[in-house]
């Protein structure tokens, strides 16, 4: 029995504040997607059921909705936990960092990988609350190492910055290829 118990404890996870909000959201999205089934996935007349383009979306979305409903039911009957909206506020606050990430991706093709990474690393380190010189130099150094490793050494496919075109001849070629 003790083994069964340990295994049970292993897989059990416990509800946290905000679970109910997530459960509602997930169910709403599932239902919304399922309602689009006829519109968004075709059914070829005469074809076998299992080979229909609609088959797998139908199976996955129906089961997803079913599981989401059961999950919501589980959340709803559980004891209410404090701090639900505080938790949701934290999720929303994470959008800020998602925006930072997308902004970084947006500027790279314009100002180039090296400058964008340097600026982004230092600014985000400041945003994360570090003010010490060690942290800021560390961020700048890490940015340079990352660029050297991926772009200069591994030659990962990243676009060269438009700004590099304005550089003098000799440097331009190097910057376009390696940074």
């Amino acid at each position: 029995m003790s083994r069964v118990k340990t295994l049970q404890a292993l897989f059990k996870r416990y509800r946290r504040p905000g679970d109910l909000v997530f459960a509602w959201l997930f169910l709403a999205i599932s239902v919304l997607l399922l309602s689009q089934l006829w519109d968004q996935a075709a059914y070829k007349a005469g074809g076998k059921l299992f080979a229909q383009p609609r088959f797998w979306p139908a199976v996955s979305l129906s089961l997803m909705t079913l599981f989401a409903a059961l999950h919501l039911y589980g959340s709803a009957i559980s004891e209410r936990l404090d701090g639900r909206w505080k938790e949701v506020a934290l999720w929303i606050s994470a959008l800020e960092f998602a925006a930072w990430f997308v902004a970084y991706a947006f500027v790279v093709p314009y100002i180039g990988y090296l400058p964008a990474t340097l600026i982004f690393a230092v600014l985000l380190t400041l945003r994360a609350g570090y003010r010490s010189r060690t942290a800021l130099t560390g961020a700048a150094a890490a940015a340079i190492v990352i660029v050297l490793l991926f772009k200069s050494f591994l030659q990962v496919k990243l676009p060269a910055g438009k700004i590099y075109d304005t550089l003098p001849d000799g440097i331009r070629q190097i910057m376009l290829t390696y940074f």
Partner: protein
């Protein structure tokens, strides 16, 4: 034997050896830093390895995969914070040893047990290979479809207490892979008229979002901490001698690791818990468990290190990944045009042996590296968590953007990053989404290619292996229902659930 030699020849190149060295040492460091973990590292490095030779890229990622658990033991033992989620039980007995001033004993025992488990797992893999080469060709479309279905069911059922959540997330994964242009009928599925959705949602973008970006968001939205680990003094080789006194525990634990590693959806956690329970039950001093028992430490570390090699078995032989890391490895194989599955054992057996040898080598490299550099690692793990978040964000960009230089991919990844953050905060599992995507794709393709041969539904299971798989699926479901009934009748009390917090790291 000649295949083994051919495999060795494959590795005898400076770039392969360098990749192995970088991968294994990098893996230890990454595993040692609480908050990064192998999933984040592999996700970030995936696209970077596309430009490399297949064997070079594969050995590098294999290095990270196989060595991160070694590193994860260091913070588990020294600061009671597991470096990777699978080192959770190591901290149970490792940290009390540190508190008693026996940190070097704990660390060296953890390394030795990891080494034992790692090598044991690979030896099993090598011994099983001829059998696999025999069985694998018997797997046709039907069998692979059923095996993938079994995988999905196991992944969902493995999340006891959260089966509904795991189910809905796995189904989300299956749904995600259907988005885009259907390859056979050329019809759009769930593209809502948006051109960027026509090519579908890329698995690597989802992986990077769910594992890497979510971790960055998680660290950045939490208060800053800086783990403080004290340096270790003493001879680290002593652990091996002590391990030899507990050969039985180490071997049984490794066997658990191998067996459970092969089954999709179970993996390290179950292996650890079962071997830990076994060690405690058969120990002469069961009361010392959780208070610094060397046997507990050995059981936990030997089990989790035997898993990577075993998890390669379904991956290489059938092309079916059992957990997130092997799912990522699968996409690496595909990119390098190495298609895991029955034909791999027939046509490229030397590559398979090359990978085995790489696994052995990496265990040796890591073991030697750790004997000399544990104190260096105690310095590295002090990186403040928010700063780590900044670094992960910068590194994730390389991963997502280098795929196809698409800003849309970055936005999709950021969206999945937020989803991943919510799941981590709620302690819900992320792995079912990834496995749903991978296994869902396999199921769709295999079911379609099996259709022409099916006249009646019974044809699906008229071959021996497909029949066995079908019986297994039924058995798993029945066993699950039986356990549920048993649990319901027994009214078991609540257990300590702090350990699941490690899921967050």
């Amino acid at each position: 034997m000649e295949n083994l030699l051919a495999g060795a020849m494959m590795l005898a190149r400076w770039d392969v050896l360098l990749a192995l060295l970088v991968g294994s040492i990098g893996g230890v460091i990454i595993g040692a830093i609480p908050g990064v973990g192998p999933a984040v590292a592999i996700a970030i490095l995936l696209p970077a390895t596309f430009a490399l030779d297949p064997i070079v890229g594969l050995t590098m990622l294999l290095g990270i995969y196989g060595s991160s658990m070694y590193g994860g033991a260091i913070p588990a033992v020294l600061i009671n914070t597991p470096g990777t989620a699978v080192n959770a039980l190591t901290s149970y007995d490792g940290y009390p040893l540190t508190q008693r001033g026996e940190a070097h004993r704990a660390v060296s025992l953890a390394y030795s047990a990891s080494f034992w488990g790692g090598i044991f797992g690979i030896l099993c893999l090598i011994l099983l290979s001829p059998v696999l080469a025999l069985i694998a060709p018997m797997f046709g479309s039907r069998e692979i479809f059923l095996a993938a279905l079994l995988g999905i069911i196991l992944v969902i059922l493995a999340h006891r207490g959260q089966i509904f959540a795991a189910g809905m997330l796995a189904m989300l994964g299956i749904f995600l892979q259907t988005i885009g242009l259907d390859a056979v009928t050329y019809t759009q599925r769930y593209t809502f008229g948006l051109t960027f959705l026509s090519s579908g949602i890329n698995l690597i973008v989802v992986v990077l979002g769910l594992f890497a970006l979510s971790q960055a968001f998680f660290l950045l939205t939490n208060p800053d901490e800086s783990p403080d680990a004290k340096p270790v003094s003493g001879k680290l080789t002593a652990g091996f001698r002590e391990l030899l006194k507990h050969k039985r525990v180490a071997t049984v634990a490794s066997s658990f690791g191998v067996i459970l590693g092969m089954i999709p959806g179970t993996g390290e956690f179950t292996a650890q818990f079962m071997s830990y329970t076994y060690a405690q039950k058969t120990s002469k001093t069961p009361n010392s468990f959780g208070k610094g028992s060397p046997e507990g430490l050995i059981a936990s570390e030997a089990a989790n290190n035997a898993v990577p090699a075993a998890a390669m078995i379904p991956l290489l032989a059938l092309g079916i990944p059992g957990e997130a890391l092997t799912a990522m490895m699968l996409s690496v194989f595909y990119v390098h045009n190495v298609i895991p599955g029955p034909q791999l054992f027939q046509n490229d057996i030397d590559l398979v042996y090359g990978l085995y040898l790489a696994l052995i080598l990496l265990n040796v490299i890591v073991f030697c590296f750790l004997l000399f550099s544990t104190n260096l690692m105690t310095k590295i793990i002090r990186v403040p968590t928010r700063f780590l978040g900044v670094l992960i964000l910068i590194l994730s960009f390389v991963g997502v953007y280098s795929l196809r230089n698409s800003l849309t991919d970055c936005m999709i990844a950021a969206g999945f990053g937020i989803l991943g953050l919510i799941l981590k905060r709620l302690n819900l599992p992320i792995v079912p989404i990834i496995l749903g995507m991978v296994l869902g794709g396999i199921m769709e393709v295999k079911l379609r290619s099996a259709l022409p041969r099916l006249k009646t539904p019974l044809d699906m299971i008229d071959r021996p292996i497909s029949f066995i798989l079908f019986v297994l699926i039924l058995l798993v479901l029945v066993m699950h229902v039986r356990t549920l009934i048993k649990e319901y009748k027994a009214h078991l009390p609540e257990e300590d659930h702090e350990i699941h917090d490690t899921q967050l790291r």
